[in-house]
């Protein structure tokens, strides 16, 4: 049996794939949901295990994703952290990038640094941009620094020296000496987290890593302990932000890699599903309660970026973390997003969300604001018996109450307001989807769109129509797809290193030797987890740009070896640049970052197939009601139970397919085919 658990903001999900021991055939998927337990996250996992009646002794593979890191950061619940840096530069962390993103606001308040100035210490040393030592490290002040740290109850020390991405010698020396002087305080240095340049981003990454280090270690130790008590045989795997899993020991030494693990695993689940059904170009959309996230997958690959920030918005600079995170665009539009009207009389939806409590007006828990979910109810798209898993009926009087203000201000009917909310919410999501597709030079017609999360299937058909994607796919268990994705992930680590050089045959030796150095480091790391080099798979990327540019384009170096002609790589860059930015230049090309992906494939289960009985599609209909499809009109619409749909069944819109965790809306322009795995494949009606 294989189990994955995913701790989210509201719920902790568990997905269990069961097999027949003798035949190895799949027995199906078990899904368990339980409340997240913020004071003690591992308890939530134990609760799902108990609720699902799962015997850990029988589990061969246990993967886990957690919000413990992102929570500690956004709620400022991490450890008291100090910083040691190069003399003259302790204020880099506070000066940050000097920007004022809320640029028309002269009364702007800058976000404070995670380490106060009196805990930012300096040591004498200097390395230049070539990695040469200008000034030797002087550690004579370390004792007094550590004494102050002790007095101030510092729990964690972050070390970040100038140009350490190029030469970490002094950082390594500091790590050793501090450990020697005081082993109580956690220490972490920038080169352990990132080997890319930009001192503020590196310092911020290191400080935030230090900030979460004690809490994450404690959590992981507890989790390991509790699972061992329950006799789990193999150590659990931990989900990272790059879409791969890794050993629990590895993540303990660099826990910041877990920061965006939830969204990453959803996307990787979609990629794994895509492989099975032979779809390699995907747009993945995950709509939750507060936000919608989307990512683009090209030829089975999703881009990895290190331009990640927390607490970042249009008006806030945020805090950068240079760790490999899959390239996701997130916007403040989800099921709970609130509709509101500004002073000029314009309606907006989000980014404020009613959250889980009080939740949308329809929850009847005191929510006074109309949300996207309420709009879906008003238009008849959610069946009252399938509202939040069928646990309660929508509170129609509360919806009525919440819509009154909007109706008055807009001088419109409740129905029109609801349709307006859905149009605006959909337009916001379309803009985000265009950001990752059209704006990057991709034609959505070449892509399939996979929608997951509780709200994805409600809006998918409208968005697919607007974007003109070739088809829309709603997988089974779309509501817990993040956990599902972990069962489909491989062990993966990303190694990114800045080393700027001009791409020319002359430099080929250097390029090969840097890649081989990085590869050796990867092999060594994987060995620590008992993986052999022959199990490992390597993929090479380079971040390239025209000389003089600052930003780069990531280019995959297919089948990279010493025989790969550099001119092929350069040609690929030219065409990629043209695709993204509509022009290419007759200028020399520069390599900025070396990027190596090392992976070990994990044995994965087959996607379970659905059984076929002689049931007819009509047997799945449980109700017929009027649904408002906005510009496509109001229609008497059949409501189907998803659990009764079987492979090869076909149905035409207008239709609504209900299940516990989500609802799929099929417009009058679309039709649905159920494939052998139970995926709903939605396409435009051929005869429409």
């Amino acid at each position: 049996m294989r189990v994955a658990t995913d701790i989210g903001g509201t719920f902790t999900d568990l997905v269990c794939l069961e097999f027949d021991k003798k035949s190895g055939n799949s027995l199906g998927v078990k899904v368990v949901k339980s409340d997240t337990t913020p004071s003690n996250f591992e308890q939530g996992i134990l609760n799902t295990i108990a609720k699902g009646n799962i015997n850990l002794k029988e589990i061969d593979f246990f993967a886990h994703g957690t919000t413990v890191v992102i929570n500690a950061l956004t709620e400022r619940k991490g450890a008291k952290t100090a910083l040691i840096t190069t003399k003259g530069f302790r204020d880099v962390l506070e000066i940050a990038r000097c920007n004022r993103p809320d640029l028309f606001n002269f009364n702007f308040i800058k976000q404070p640094p995670f380490v106060p100035r009196h805990l930012r210490f300096e040591v004498e040393e200097r390395i230049n941009y070539k990695g040469e030592i200008n000034k030797e490290l002087n550690t004579s002040t370390l004792k007094s620094i550590l004494k102050t740290c002790k007095e101030e109850n510092v729990e964690s020390i972050a070390i970040c020296l100038l140009h350490a991405y190029k030469n970490p010698k002094h950082e390594i020396q500091l790590l050793k000496e501090i450990f020697h002087l005081n082993s109580d305080i956690e220490i972490i240095a920038s080169h352990q987290i990132t080997r890319e340049w930009r001192e503020y981003e590196r310092t911020s990454s290191t400080v935030l890593s230090g900030y979460v280090l004690p809490i994450a270690k404690k959590y992981l130790n507890n989790l390991e302990e509790r699972l061992r008590e329950k006799e789990l045989r193999n150590a659990p795997f931990i989900m990272q932000s790059n879409g791969g899993i890794t050993s629990i020991n590895d993540v303990k030494s660099n826990p910041i890699t877990m920061v965006e693990s939830g969204p990453a695993s959803g996307v990787f689940g979609a990629i794994a599903l895509g492989k099975v059904i032979d779809k390699k170009d995907l747009i993945v959309l995950d709509i939750g309660g507060t936000t919608a996230k989307c990512a683009l997958v090209e030829n089975g690959q999703v881009k990895i970026t290190t331009n990640y920030k927390i607490d970042h918005s249009r008006t806030k600079a945020g805090y950068p973390i240079q760790t490999p995170v899959i390239d996701i665009v997130e916007i403040g539009n989800g099921g709970g997003s609130i509709a509101w009207i500004d002073q000029g009389g314009k309606m907006h939806v989000g980014p404020k969300s009613a959250g889980a409590s009080p939740g949308p007006a329809a929850y009847g828990r005191g929510g006074k604001n109309l949300t996207t979910t309420d709009a879906n109810i008003i238009t008849g798209r959610i069946h009252p018996d399938y509202f939040i898993g069928g646990e309660i009926q929508p509170d129609y009087s509360s919806i009525e109450e919440a819509s009154r203000v909007l109706c008055e201000k807009l001088n419109a009917s409740k129905e029109d307001v609801a349709k307006g909310i859905l149009r605006i919410a959909n337009a916001n999501m379309v803009n985000a989807l265009k950001l990752i597709s059209v704006n990057k030079g991709h034609d959505p017609r070449d892509f399939s769109m996979i929608v997951i999360g509780g709200g994805g299937a409600m809006h998918g058909a409208d968005l697919a129509r607007e974007l003109q994607v070739s088809e829309l796919i709603i997988p089974p268990h779309a509501g817990v797809f993040s956990a599902f994705g972990m069962l489909m992930s491989d062990v993966r680590r990303d190694y990114i290193r800045t080393n700027v050089l001009t791409l020319s045959e002359k430099q080929k030796e250097t390029i090969l030797s840097i890649f081989s150095e990085i590869k050796d480091e990867a092999v060594l790391n994987f060995k620590a987890d008992n993986y052999q080099q022959n199990e490992m798979k390597f993929t090479y990327y380079a971040d390239l740009r025209y000389v003089g540019q600052e930003h780069y384009v990531k280019v995959m170096l297919t089948n990279f070896s010493k025989n790969t002609p550099l001119k092929t790589i350069i040609a690929n860059f030219h065409s990629e640049h043209k695709k993204q930015y509509s022009f290419e230049l007759d200028a020399p090309v520069e390599l900025v970052n070396f990027h190596l992906v090392a992976e070990v494939e994990v044995e994965k289960p087959d996607f379970p197939k659905l059984r076929v009985t002689d049931r007819k599609v009509e047997d799945a209909i449980f109700d017929t009601k009027e649904v408002d499809f906005d510009d496509l009109g109001k229609h008497d619409t059949s409501f189907y139970r998803r659990e009764l749909l079987e492979p090869n069944m076909m149905l035409k819109g207008p239709a609504v397919i209900a299940e516990n965790a989500t609802t799929t809306v099929v417009t009058p322009l679309h039709e649905v085919l159920v494939d052998e795995y139970g995926n709903l494949i939605i396409t435009p009606q051929r005869t429409a």
Binding site: N99, L103, H118, Q343, G345, D630
Partner: protein
């Protein structure tokens, strides 16, 4: 339901603005564009009314719509705009002009052969020729010394690149690859925006598009008028000054009279000093852009830029003053004058609306241009950048530290690790200083030092740091802050302090120290809680001596 469609079109226009913004940033060749984000992109209607703008800096708020209007004026007779044309312009005195380094790319958008909109961008190109590297000089006396002028020229005609113009540019600038790279980045960004505008029209129809943009402009005006009602009506006035023109002459007064009513906001600069010898002059177009940024800060700061939101504002000034300079006046340091005008209106209005405006900030862009030959590559380099400093405290919080001036916005500093590779300099320190000032119930943000050590064999520095003799202003009992200046620390230890300086020779090993001011304080220092003062001492934001003297602790 049409109402919602109009709103969606409006949001899509804003999204198109964002996309153009990113394209320019990601493809540009000038650090001042891709790091400082000293540029703006926008979409206007056929008359040049601003529909959407993506900004890096606040300073270009009047630049885009005005430059389109000036384009329409020029191509209104024998020469007309045709599909596939792209126009470039940088004339300071005409619509949208600031200084020559800021070049506009104007792209008329056609749909079925009909002109339907413009996409436009304006960006600071690092090099445009002229007497000194970086095309900025504090000792220029005529615009001819400041670089190439593009008086609304078609760089593309019916889709065909004007090769003669490209060759001319190539031959007249110091970093031709970078300059032409910026040109193509500007055209690419405008093309992207044009595609989006056309796709909107294709989807919703031209009629609905026009309705949406008219509705959007009216919406901007409504939002602005609502906000204007919260500013007390009345006539207010004040005086500021430009301390120096680069020739040791000055100060030169700038006068402003402001009239606020519920529907109008009029700023009258008549009575300001005539335009001066030197480059510390601002064109009328630059003046309007400065006034708009302050006006936006006090009316609709959280709304996207929209031409309707500026309808209630008027700027009056006779031609030929230091804030309405005419040809052939030099203007390359216009930004210092512009920031001074913003600061003047700010200082006049702040006591009336302390929830929108804090005490005085560094009040200078503190831009430096250091040029020389890179010691490793032997290539010519120009490091051009604005610097961060202290901002004023407000009625609710201490002033920010490490923030670029009000003329910037979503602009970034250049990382030390990147600049040390690119340029022949090494940074010795990057730190807050203790030059004093800014005491108050809320403390002004500390200014900072950046020390650049020259490691190439010789280099030159040009800088303009106004506020070398005038401190940033405190408010409501808060103390004034400190000064901006740059100082050359020679290898032998001699020090030279400057406000304005052009092409000063530096030897290998000399240090350029840039000092930016501490912001003004807010409220009586006596009201600052003791524990806060103690914490400031512990953090080194103030010294013990200052605490004793100004906080009695």
């Amino acid at each position: 339901m049409e109402k919602f469609t109009l709103e969606i079109i409006q949001d899509t226009l804003v999204a198109a603005g964002d996309e153009m913004f990113q394209t320019l940033q990601r493809t540009s060749m000038s650090p001042i564009i891709y790091e400082s984000l000293d540029y703006a992109v926008g979409i206007t209607d056929v008359k040049g009314e601003l529909l959407a703008q993506g900004n890096g800096v606040t300073a270009f708020l009047a630049a885009l719509d005005s430059v389109v209007r000036a384009t329409l004026e020029k191509f209104n007779g024998e020469s007309v705009l045709e599909e596939g044309d792209v126009i470039i312009a940088n004339t300071p005195y005409a619509g949208g002009g600031t200084h020559l380094s800021d070049v506009s790319v104007i792209y008329p958008v056609f749909y079925h052969k009909e002109l339907v909109a413009f996409t436009v961008n304006k960006a600071h190109w690092t090099e445009l020729g002229g007497t000194f590297p970086g095309s900025v000089s504090t000792v220029a006396t005529e615009i001819y010394q400041e670089g190439l002028q593009f008086p609304f020229i078609k760089v593309k005609s019916k889709g065909k690149l004007n090769d003669a113009l490209v060759d001319l540019i190539k031959a007249n600038v110091r970093l031709p690859d970078s300059t032409l790279g910026d040109l193509f980045a500007g055209i690419a960004a405008a093309e992207v925006g044009a595609k989006r505008v056309i796709s909107i029209i294709e989807k919703y129809g031209l009629k609905t598009f026009i309705k949406a943009k008219d509705d959007f402009l009216d919406y901007g005006e409504r939002m602005c008028i609502e906000a204007l009602k919260t500013i007390p009506n009345g006539d207010y006035e004040g005086v500021s000054e430009i301390e120096d023109n680069g020739f040791g002459e000055g100060p030169f007064p700038i006068k402003a009279k402001i009239t606020v009513s519920d529907t109008e906001f009029i700023v009258d600069f008549n009575g300001s000093h005539p335009q001066v010898k030197g480059a510390t002059n601002l064109s009328y177009s630059g003046l309007v852009t400065g006034c708009r940024s302050l006006f936006k800060a006090i009316t609709t700061p959280s709304m996207n830029a929209n031409g309707g939101a500026f309808r209630p504002m008027k700027v009056l000034c006779e031609p030929g003053t230091i804030v309405s300079a005419v040809t052939p006046s030099a203007v390359s340091v216009y930004y210092e004058v512009m920031v001074t005008t913003i600061d003047l209106i700010w200082k006049i209005l702040a006591p009336l609306i302390p929830d929108k405006l804090p005490a005085g900030h560094m009040r200078s862009v503190c831009a430096t241009f250091i040029s020389g030959m890179h010691p490793d590559t032997n290539q010519f380099y120009i490091q051009a950048e604005p610097l961060a400093g202290g901002w004023g405290a407000s009625a609710t919080h201490d002033g920010n530290r490490g923030q670029l001036s009000c003329g910037s916005g979503e602009s970034y500093n250049i990382p030390i690790e990147i600049r040390e590779m690119r340029y022949g300099i090494e940074v010795e320190q990057y730190a807050f200083h203790n030059e004093g000032g800014g005491y108050g119930e809320f403390q002004g943000g500390n200014g900072q030092y950046v020390d650049y050590k020259i490691i190439s064999d010789g280099a030159h520095v040009t800088g303009a740091f106004l506020g070398e003799k005038t401190k940033t202003w405190g408010m409501n009992g808060g103390h004034d802050g400190s000064y901006n200046y740059f100082m050359i620390i020679r290898k032998d230890g001699t020090k030279e302090r400057h406000s304005l300086g052009t092409n000063i020779f530096l030897e290998k090993g000399d240090i350029v120290r840039c000092a930016t001011a501490t912001g003004g304080g807010y409220g009586d220092p006596k009201n600052r809680p003791k524990e806060q003062v103690l914490l400031d001492i512990k953090n080194g934001y103030i010294t013990k001596k200052e605490a004793q003297e100004f906080y009695q602790i």
